[in-house]
Amino acid sequence: MTDFKLPSIDYAALSPILIMLSTALLGVLVEAFVPRRLRHVVQLTLALLAVLAALTMVVLNADERMITAGQALAIDGPTLFLQGAILVLAAMALLLIGDRSVELGGAFVAQAAVTAESADDRRQAEGRNGLTEVYPLTTFAIGGMLIFVAANDLLTMFIALEVFSLPLYLLCALARRRRLLSQEAAMKYFLLGAYASAFFLFGVALIYGFTAGIPGRVAGVDFATINAAVSDSPASEVLLFAGMALLAIGLLFKAAAAPFHVWTPDVYQGAPTPVTGFMAACTKVAAFGALLRVFHVAFAGANWDFTPVLGVVAVLTMLVGAVLAVTQTDIKRLLAYSSIANAGYLLVGVLAPSRDGLAGTMFYLVAYGFSVLAAFAVVTLVRDADGEATHLSRWAGLGRRSPFFAALFTFILLAFAGIPLTSGFMSKFAVFGPALEGGQTWLVIAGVLTSMVLAFPYLRVVVMMWLSEPGESTPTVTVPGGLTSAALMIGVLATLVLGVAPAPLLDLATGAAEFVR
């Protein structure tokens, strides 16, 4: 305890994280000192510039492979790939969050503290500018996610989890319309998220106990130590299994895997749609990035123990997502269950113990993120006087009213259904192929069977849009301004390009698919 060695820190490798977090702090200052009418522009520009700068640093760091900041952070292929993915998808989400052309004043409430459904609340729904705190909150969340996928010990991972979760709980509560639903969603998300975090933390403690007593090592929760402990710790394996299970609960909660998925439909429905898109794309990347690292690096030696359990979770997730999606009548809830089912497919990729499996999972995350953001971008556009018209019956005949946007949405739905020439098909192949190769035949069969079920709800929406006659209540699609259009077009184009020419991104993913240990 006498000599304390300063850990070496490679600031260049950490720069994306530092950029995002310092921009978030700067954003707080902007809230304090910049005049109200300028804040929106300043904040949005600041956030976008920070994302671009961080992305540039990720690209510049592309060849770095190191563990830095003590044992806390691993900057390696998967980290950089997933950080890049989070930043690109976050940029799209920021475009959606920043849009004020679709709804007067933006999708966010002007004053969060006003009691829901009160007269004051109704007044502020009429078009006062939304609060600009959303930008620092989002930037904090992005920063947390960047740490989450890089974390190389469980405590750093826990802190990162909290850093990106807390802003998300708040963001969920800020919807301009349907305030009660939004606040309920935030409350639910917060309570369940807090439980999940507690589980995670308890798991960390048990694992710490498990690592005690390995000859020649100090107890710790960094992944190298855990990995060594898995093979030769003298401690009881009960500690290991219980710890792994508790950690998995925390991570699977964020990934929205069954049976830890119950928050997903409510939160996706209640949260402001741009935030929903942000969660569906970026949170998924972050959660699966962490899952991959924890199970492929820390617990790689316990492969035989966790694979059957996670396999059951994967099958359950696919089943719950697919079957319950069939009964949904609200487009946002439908997309939520679809996101749950997709978490199941991603878990199939996590359980493919090979470089191809890892690459396939990372490819899937990127492809799905683009599609789902584009899907939610369309959801923000279909609206009437009361805000978004999310009930499916309202979408009847939309293809007649607004063929262009209906066609885009149809394309995205076909991608979700896994029709070839869309990224959805390529990503399914990217995870199912390595899984089958790794001997997980039953997971692939479950995946294929649930895909059949899941095709039905997507098709129902297509039928609604194109084959039904427009009703009295069919809203028109609001023609979006530049920001939402850009996000939508990027999402759709990426879905198409990754479906037709997936080779470049696959190469990139395969090249990156190796953890440093």
């Binding site: 259904a417 029709i419 070839p420 192949f429 192929g433 084959l467 080779a503």
Partner: protein, 510 residues
């Protein structure tokens, strides 16, 4: 000329045409129709050039092209055609212009965009050509699935009564089959050492258990697509609801993908499993022949009736394929072509009749021949071709299937022969109730029924009638192309034809 990249150009050309047509102004429907028609004629001309430069006695796969696509997975754009695929490509190229011509006014009756209808037809042509021209299993799967999308919208947006239900049922059935195939495709990729090249995969040894599962995955997809009994229930709905032109393509070409897939993928890639499952497949074929024919007799809706006759015919094709003799195999392939011509014609004519009467119900007709004699005559001819009257092309194929089957499996051949009798029943009874007999007085009050075939419609039916008669008397140009490919397929599964039991020629030679 044989170095010309026929297959890729043929695949891409209709897609380019579709884009052109789709972006024509919506208020100029005539222009869209003309462009689509001329475009499909260009595709036909190119196909004819390909037919001419195909060397029937040459290599099994010709016009091979290969371009890298996803090297990580061993996927490439590989096109190649054997005689079987070539015949189907020709069928597509011939049918599409005729369907476009026949559908000239179909899209107008719906409230939807006319150019989009013709663009969808061209997209469909692109995917149909692609599915037959692909020599890479992944590429085949891509076309197999994408094919659903234009057809779905053709049925769903431009179809008749119950179109939504029919379109969704069609899509879901096909998608379910396709996903089973996807699992098998991935499995094949894994056991085949991460390649999708047909040639390489056909040389891979697969363990018996795995081979059977993979066969089942592919077979299920193809059996739903074809469709074979008991996976057929979507076809009468889809065929009944689709606009006549789309229905002609659906039954004439799209469904052949199923039987073609069995010949190209199931048999050569999984020869042992094919033999193991053959009795079951034969049983499905025979049941289909009799069952669908019986249902056809009972139909009161013209398009549904034609759909059921098709299911019966697919039973014949299935029997022909799984009899594993060259004669039956050739017969099955020839049947695929002839059925496309005859049923295509039947669908188009029935469509003309329905658009005049404004009803598809047989009971709404009666004695129509007195009002529209030429149309009634063409319907009669199409019916006769469909029941395989000697002198029409289907007769030859049906006969080949039956004698080819008889040499190896007498009971199946005998039961299948029942199908011929039933075919006579459903066709003749249908013709009698619609065009013969006393005139249904309400018919005279319908304006449309006073117009006989106009020039456009005559141009539609004439080439089909000519081809059916020509191939009925002189099928040699086609059989020359088919035979080597069928022979090669039979070699793949290691079956040789049984020697004739009363072999006088052989004994004389001794």
């Amino acid at each position: 000329m044989s170095n010309f990249p026929f297959l890729s150009v043929l695949t891409v050309a209709p897609l380019v045409g579709a884009l052109v047509v789709a972006f024509l102004p919506r208020h100029r429907p005539e222009l869209a129709k003309q462009v689509a028609f001329v475009w499909s004629l260009l595709v036909l001309a190119l196909s004819v050039a390909m037919w001419v430069s195909f060397n029937a006695g040459g290599k099994r796969f010709q016009f091979r092209e290969s371009y890298s696509w996803i090297p990580d997975w061993g996927v490439s754009f590989t096109f190649a055609t054997d005689g079987i695929a070539l015949v189907m490509l020709m069928l597509i190229a011939v049918l599409v212009p005729l369907v476009i011509l026949a559908s000239w006014h179909d899209a107008e009756s719906s409230k939807r965009s006319v150019p989009v209808y013709f663009a969808l037809l061209l997209v469909l042509e692109c995917t149909m050509i692609g599915v037959f021209a692909a020599a890479d299993v992944f590429l085949f799967y891509v076309f197999f699935e994408v094919m659903l999308v234009p057809m779905y919208f053709l049925i769903g947006s431009y179809g008749g009564h119950q179109r939504q239900y029919a379109a969704v049922k069609f899509f879901l059935y096909s998608l379910v089959g396709g996903l089973f195939m996807l699992a098998a495709v991935i499995g094949l990729w894994v056991v085949g050492g991460k390649t999708f090249d047909w040639q390489a995969l056909s040389e891979v040894d697969i363990s018996t258990g795995t081979e059977r599962w993979l066969f089942l995955g592919f077979f299920l997809a193809f059996a739903i697509k074809a469709p074979f009994f008991p996976f057929h229930t979507w076809l009468p709905d889809a065929g009944g609801a689709a606009p006549a032109g789309a229905a002609a393509l659906l039954v004439g070409v799209l469904d052949k993908v199923g039987t073609f897939g069995i010949l190209r993928y199931c048999l050569p890639l999984f020869p042992e499993a094919s033999k193991w499952f053959a009795p079951w497949a034969l049983a499905l074929g025979v049941i289909g022949i009799v069952y669908a024919a019986l249902l056809a007799v009972g139909q009161n809706d013209l398009k549904r009736l034609v759909s059921y006759t098709s299911i019966a015919h697919f039973g014949f094709i299935g029997v022909g394929i799984f009899a594993f003799t060259t004669q039956a195999g050739t017969g099955a392939v020839l049947y695929m072509l002839n059925h496309g011509l005859a049923t295509g014609l039947l669908f188009l004519v029935v469509g003309m009749l329905i658009s005049r009467r404004g009803s598809a119900l047989i009971s709404d007709f009666g004695g129509a021949g007195k009002l529209v004699p030429v149309l009634a005559g063409v319907l009669f001819f199409a019916g006769l071709a469909s029941l395989a009257l000697p002198g029409t092309a289907p007769f030859i194929s049906e006969f080949l299937v039956l004698i080819g089957t008889f040499t190896v499996n007498k009971p199946v051949a005998i039961i299948a022969t029942l199908g011929i009798i039933l075919a006579a029943a459903y066709v003749l009874w249908m013709v009698q109730r619609t065009t013969q007999g006393t005139l249904n007085p309400t018919l005279t009050e319908v304006d449309g029924m006073r117009r006989d075939l106009n020039l456009r419609e005559k141009v539609v039916v004439a080439p089909l009638i000519a081809l059916i008669v020509l191939l009925g008397f002189f099928p040699k140009p086609v059989t020359d192309v088919i035979n080597p490919a069928v022979q090669a397929t039979m070699d793949d599964i290691g079956r040789t034809d049984p020697a004739p039991s009363v072999g006088t020629v052989q004994e004389a030679a001794k």
